[in-house]
């Protein structure tokens, strides 16, 4: 007890006099009774007059008193600022020179370093010794290391507080020169070192020798100097991370994290540096799309600029250009020519679109032409020049190429194409043969479910078999290719979509494209352009805005530049094309620090630091006073356990269920929705309306399944924006006046749904009468459809496909009759002339609705079985319209055709 007390000194001992006030406090607390409990009581009248009887018990309980006394004592002691001191650890007397390494290797254990520095300053202050400080790293202002004037320790604290680890290496040779200039003598030296030799061995030795001449030297060094991450190697399968460390007697285990730009870790590999070894490496295996997303490799739990390697284009995917023969429908989901290419290549490569000229204007590794027959002679010349230089041209056949082949093909094509396994053919669709040995595809597994139904044929030639990179089981070439110069031209004899084969649906397609893209030379390095600093690392290895002094760097020099105040490690260039300057790229191996002769060495963190007890005491007082508050409330009966214990777990479970269940309930299971076609309705949030919608679509589905060849599954309720809509041909959306308008994501989803050929049936359910039936529906319709790409509308004309898609109808009754039904005015060729919206008011769902017993629970108005039958027939027409588009549109012309035939 005495020893512990002996170690405590107070900064403001006179505050302890306040302890004398404690007895006064006790007396004050004892004479003030605690506040009474409040209690409502109806029979209070009977208590009047009894108040004065006994007022004796109103004393603060002794334990509460004790609690308050302890809290008050803690406050007084804490304000007196006691320090638990470690005693004297500084050698010698006279001025103290503190040498502080603040280079990249000081980032880890920075707290311990500054702690040791603070402790030394505190001790010097108590011992009355003056201090000078030397930081060995060039400052962020590019000033070389310099020794400060000898000053009282307190004056130095500001400078110490401003110290930060710097993301480049210390310059000890310059520090030695600074020591020579400072002219200190008869000083004791404390060197808080990072434990690494950074520059030439000679400069390091000179610095150590010069320190030893000043006086007794104490070196505080970390037990294990910071490891560094060297420049990683890019391998086909992944990235190999390399770690360097000072050889140690025991093995070291480190972990490397592969991080994306938004700081997510995609992979973590452990690296073991064996005892006595200076480096080790490990491969990070990642799928290409994840590898492309990587922005940095980071040593886990090592906060320094040397523990971060930034990754740039050198470790990235290659750019690939896509050109379609018919650009207008090229991106249509599941049908477009570029749809599958886009899906297959997006993870592997950066995709670009444009004309041949646009694409060739920038570096590009490969260009894919999907059934393009519109190449101009200039394009052909440019492309062939680019191929000679190392580009890979991948072409897909198709009806256009078959009709008009050009010379930029590996083989000569025969005019026309051949069809296998059609309705009028005896042949079966052909499947793939194993790849030839010399083909770039050699070794890829051939799935047996790839079938080719149609293809273009090559003219027989002597070198055809040599140029055949993939063929069908009957020997017909499927992929032919030819190397030209440093590049290659490849032709797939099928289309890039599923018109001619199901190859694009296969995983083989992706693997083949991946192989082909790697055929090229790749992205050329940028020239001598000066890259401005974009984001730089600080001493803890965190990216941030570049410091003011950071200046641009020639692109060619980026691999050889050593990070310095003018070129801190980080990203240089522009957002689009960034180049990484890494500290690790210039390191090869790490050497231990040569120590000054006769120095005493302490391990960083070994020294017990002088510990300030004030925060502990004050927080104890705070806790005690909070407890006192609770007790006081409890004594007054104002506070009970906030939630009864029995219900608390239930509430927690309910909360948990709500938290996890609520978002889950919004999701339509995509696997279930995708397997069968089905109708869907928009969930409005009004249970009654949603029930009607569901019952209505069930009724309609039942009717459609009975009367037509369509086989629809049970309808689903969807929430646009939350659920994937692309599985549904038709979306029924009843309008309620209190529906919240769709948010941005929902609008995007609905617009995408309409663009890709879906139909939204909006039903205001007011028979066109407005207020009476469904008040506010038309206003709600305007509100809800704001932001949706609703085309120009007009009432359904008498010859619209909707009137004859299955049944011949003249009007479209639902539960009501007479509401006007609106469709798109101008027929849009893109989606088979199908109107993306049908807006009506007849409350169709209620007319279609069936209950569990198969009855129609909602009477039609004005009524009659005929009206309901017509409502169902309209529903069938709607479904047929959604599923078959303008297939029945030809019927419009039947009278004219008959007339002509008659003539």
């Amino acid at each position: 007890m005495i020893e512990v007390l002996a170690g405590i000194s107070f900064a403001y001992p006179w505050l302890l006099a306040a302890l004398a006030l404690l007895p006064v406090l006790i007396w004050l607390l004892r004479v003030t009774p605690p506040a009474p409990k409040q209690q409502a009581f109806p029979a209070v009248r009977l208590l009047f007059g009894l108040e004065q009887r006994e007022e004796s018990s109103a004393r603060t309980p002794w334990w509460l008193l004790l609690l308050r006394m302890v809290a008050a004592a803690c406050v007084i002691l804490g304000l007196a600022r006691p320090v638990l001191d470690s005693g004297r650890s500084l050698a010698g007397s006279g001025p103290l020179l503190v040498v502080f390494d603040d280079g990249w290797a000081s980032g880890p254990e920075w707290e311990a370093r500054t702690g040791a520095l603070e402790a030394a300053l505190g001790e010097a202050e108590r011992a009355g010794r003056a201090v000078a400080l030397l930081t060995t790293t060039p400052s962020a202002q590019a000033a070389p290391p310099a020794v400060t004037a000898v000053m009282p320790a307190a004056d130095l604290r500001e400078r110490v507080a401003a110290l930060r680890p710097l993301p480049w290496a210390p310059d000890r040779a310059a520090a030695a020169r600074a020591l020579a200039l400072a002219g200190l003598s008869e000083a004791s030296v404390l060197w808080i070192a990072d434990g690494l030799a950074h520059g030439e061995a000679e400069g390091e030795r000179e610095f150590a020798a010069r320190l030893a001449t000043l006086g007794p030297v104490t070196v505080v060094a970390p037990s294990a100097p910071a490891p560094a991450l060297l420049a990683p190697r890019s391998d086909p399968g992944g990235i190999t991370a390399r770690v360097a460390a000072v050889p140690a007697a025991t093995e070291r285990r480190l972990a490397v994290l592969a991080r994306t730009a938004d700081q997510r870790s995609l992979a973590r590999v452990e690296i073991v540096i064996p005892a006595g070894a200076g480096d080790a490496e490990a491969e990070i295996m990642l799928p290409p799309e994840q590898r492309n997303a990587l922005a940095a490799l980071v040593l886990e739990d090592v906060a320094s600029a040397g523990a971060v390697v930034l990754l740039d284009e050198r470790w990235r995917r290659r750019p690939v250009g896509l050109i379609a023969g018919a650009p207008e429908g090229a991106d249509q989901p599941l049908l477009g020519e570029l749809y599958y290419l886009d899906r297959a290549l997006a993870p592997l490569a950066e995709l670009r679109r444009g004309t041949v000229r646009d694409l060739l204007a920038r570096e590009i590794a490969a260009i894919v032409l999907a059934d393009v027959d519109t190449l101009t002679p200039t394009d052909l010349a440019a492309l062939s020049r680019w191929v000679e230089q190392g580009g890979v041209l991948i072409r897909f056949a198709g009806p256009r190429t078959a009709a008009r082949p050009d010379e930029l093909l590996p083989v000569r094509l025969r005019a026309g194409d051949r069809q296998l396994g059609g309705a009028l053919s005896w042949q079966q669709p052909a499947s793939l043969a194993p790849f030839p040995e010399d083909s770039p595809f050699a070794g890829l597994a051939v799935p047996d479910d790839v079938h080719i139904t149609r293809q273009v044929l090559a003219e027989p030639a002597l070198d055809l078999s040599r140029k055949t990179w993939a063929k069908l089981v009957d020997g017909t070439p499927l992929v032919t290719g030819e190397r030209r110069g440093r590049g290659a031209i490849v032709l797939f004899h099928v289309t890039a979509n599923t018109d001619w084969s199901n190859l694009p649906l296969s995983g083989l397609f992706v693997a083949m494209l991946e192989r082909l893209i790697r055929l090229g030379v790749g992205v050329a390095a940028a020239g001598d352009a000066v890259l401005p600093p974009l984001e730089t690392l600080d001493g803890f290895g965190r990216l941030g805005p570049p410091p003011p002094l950071a200046s641009g760097l020639a692109a060619a020099a980026i691999a050889t530049t050593v990070p310095s105040p003018r070129h801190p490690p980080g990203f240089y260039g522009t957002e689009a094309g960034r180049a990484a300057l890494n500290l690790g790229a210039t390191l090869e191996r790490l050497a231990p620090l040569p120590l000054p002769a006769g120095a005493s060495v302490r391990r960083l963190g070994d020294t017990p630091l002088a510990r300030d007890l004030r925060p502990w005491l004050l927080s104890t007082a705070l806790v005690l006073l909070s407890l006192d508050l609770l007790l006081a409330l409890w004594l007054r009966g104002l506070w009970r356990a906030p939630v009864p214990v029995r219900t608390a777990p239930l509430a927690a479970i309910a909360l948990l269920l709500f938290a996890t269940g609520a978002p889950a309930s919004a999701q339509v299971d995509p696997m279930r929705a995708a397997l069968e076609p089905r109708l869907a309705y928009v969930v409005t949030g009004s249970p009654e309306v949603d029930r009607v919608s569901r019952a209505g679509l069930i009724g309609l589905t039942d009717f459609v399944n009975r009367r037509t060849a369509t086989n629809l599954a049970e309808p689903m309720g969807v929430r646009p924006g939350l659920d994937e809509l692309s599985f549904f041909p038709l979306l029924y959306w009843p309008i309620t006046s209190d529906q919240p308008p769709p948010d941005e994501r929902a609008i995007e989803a609905l617009n995408g749904f309409m663009r890709d050929g879906g139909i939204i049936v909006l039903d205001t359910r007011d028979a066109g009468l407005g207020r009476g039936m469904n008040a506010g529906a038309s206003a709600a319709l305007q509100r809800l459809t704001r932001g949706l790409a609703i085309p120009e509308l007009h009432p359904v004309p008498a010859d619209h496909v909707l009137t004859r898609a299955f049944y011949l109808l003249s009007d479209f009754p639902g539960r009501y009759v007479g509401g006007q039904t609106w469709v798109q005015r101008h027929e849009d060729r893109a989606n088979d002339s199908v109107s993306p919206v049908v807006i009506g008011a007849n409350d169709w769902a209620a007319a279609w609705a069936v209950d569990e017993a198969g009855r129609n629970p909602y009477a039609t108005m004005p009524g009659g079985a005929r009206q309901r039958l017509l409502a169902y027939r309209f529903g069938v027409n709607l479904v047929m319209y959604a599923l078959t588009g303008n297939y029945k549109g030809d019927q419009v012309h039947v009278p004219i055709i008959l007339e002509r035939l008659g003539q």
Partner: protein, 301 residues
Amino acid sequence: MRHREAPAASARRAEQLAARLPPLLVAAERVAATVAQGVHGRRRVGQGDSFWQFRPFLAGDPVSRIDWRQSAKSDRTFVRETEWEAAQSVWLWRDASAGMRWRSSPRLPEKAERAELLLLALASLLLRGGERVALLGLGMRPVSGRAMIELLAQAVARRGDAGSVSALPPLAPLPAHARVVLIGDFLSPLADVQAAIGRLAAIPVRGHLLQVLDPAEEALPFRGRVRFEGLAREGAALIGKVEGIRSDYQARLAAHQDGLKAIAAAAGWSFATHRTDHTPEAALMGLYLALAPDRLRGRAA
């Protein structure tokens, strides 16, 4: 905005009330059914429609009362008697003031809830017995028929603002010799209670007082320094040590109850107490027996 919200708010309130009604009614019916099993209608000769008995013709009976068809079956002459169905009007009242809206523990019902339950159960019993029932102070006419219990339940549910309701029964124009049942805590000063009862007794009507108390009001189970506050702005009492005055309080309460009993006795009324932690059936039985004294007393004798 106010005028648009008002209907919605009142509709919501009505829904709450409606949601509250059936359980109360069900509870009241259940309590009433337990009691009704033991007591049946007044089976005695009197004014009414349903047949009761034939008795031999006695001199002095009006000739018109002879049942000729029965008399023709034998040599004697019979008179047809019907069951006495003279209905009685009973006026029920319960204290709906703020003081009743209190309970000492969440496990207990509020005094007002218990009072309403007893009132509706009693009303249900009386309606089953063919009596006419009305709520005192609402200006309603006595009603009869079992279906009317819902009307009463709705009237009870419209209890109004507890702060403005008096803790004592109002003076209402009652027919003479009606029956009155008053349910409340009767913690008002005895003089006020006496005045209120006296006004009713002067009509004259006969009545029954049922004092409903929370167990905490009887036992005063609090400890330490407590500031007691009335619920109807009676004021507050700061008690330094509740344990010390507990016996005094209980003595005062007993004196108050004696006073109530004396007031009731002076008016020729009956008085009973009920605690909310006891079953309502016992209290209901007591009330019901008090209302049908002549016959049941005779049976017990």
